[in-house]
Symmetry: C2
Subunit: 200 residues, 2 copies
């Protein structure tokens, strides 16, 4: 049975923060390892050339006709500029996850704030894994993809020699995501659990 | 002045052939380094889980509303299964580029046939660069992205330590693409040159 639930996610940051790769890993975790229907996309235009970077993932239990993510269910931003740029594309009931190291001015009280940059630099020891820490946190917070599926997808895309650091980054992100989830009084949108249940 | 030309490209192959990465590199070459408007996407569903892999790039001189590539202008296939699957999505006037090592049954007389696998294995010495050889050939044949832009995009995405092999793969692909282009009597669609001129 299909519920026709569709969750629209945007990941955004500056060029070099690994936004596109994070988005593809999330799409592959959900589409290949969890069995959802997934559309993943990015567009390049004047704003991309300005150093902005955004990528979108739509996850559904039914085929997706139109892959653009408007009226977002989840916005994950890695820096302040992208948060400012895309904040108003997020639904009122949507989930906001921010890199608290680079997003200081956050309008929403229910935002999940996790210091992805600090965690990648100090706890993983590899600043470049910041995007993977963020993905792990996404999984921990939303529950849409399991840590196991995400790990497979991360390892399938990790350059040779970086597997261990990426696995550590992911686990760390998941842990912080789960913790943030528990501390937050705000409820996740009910469609998240409907989608997850429908897929089982 | 905008001509509103739009070129729809699909790259397809089996999982592990680097289809998604090739598609992103092409999108970044065209969007970031050539200044076109570009939408890049892939979707994951039952067919992806069967080992198929396809990704799409739409290149335009004007903003792109609908990023899905239907009625293709260019189809680049890395194996026979993906050629069989997507052949009929290619316009009659479209450009077909195939990996002749893995595509033996090609219905179109005007197809560009280049042994990407052999070139990557024997001339570059790194079989995994097959997708980059194919991208180089795409650039040489179509002229839509310049070798210089493509090289920047390849190097920005190449994992550390693989830069030289990838640059060699790209140059080799471009050379074979240009050669194939000269030997082919078939004319490229006129919209290709209109798009290129409009961008200058």
């Amino acid at each position: 049975m299909k519920a026709n639930e569709r969750i629209k996610i945007r990941i955004a940051g500056s060029g070099g923060q690994g936004v596109v790769l994070a988005s593809i890993i999330l799409a592959e975790a959900a589409g290949i390892y969890e069995g959802f229907e997934v559309a993943q996309s990015q567009s390049y235009g004047p704003e991309a050339r300005g150093g902005h970077c955004k990528a979108e993932v739509v996850i559904s239990d039914a085929p997706i006709d139109y892959p653009r993510a408007l009226n977002l269910d989840v916005l994950l931003t890695l820096n302040q500029a992208s948060l400012d740029e895309y904040y108003y594309d997020l639904k009122e009931s949507g989930v906001l996850i921010v890199n608290s190291d680079q997003c200081h001015n956050v309008l929403r009280a229910t935002a999940y704030r996790i210091p992805f940059s600090t965690l990648a630099r100090d706890s993983v020891g590899v600043p470049q894994t910041m995007n993977i820490v963020a993905l792990g946190a996404f999984a921990g917070i939303t529950g849409i993809v399991s840590p196991a599926s995400l790990k497979k997808a991360v390892l399938a895309r990790a350059p040779k020699g970086t597997e261990k650091a990426n696995a550590r980054a992911m686990n760390l992100g998941v842990r912080h995501g789960l913790e943030a989830r528990e501390n937050m009084k705000h409820r996740l949108p009910r469609k998240f659990s409907r989608l997850i249940l429908m897929n089982e």
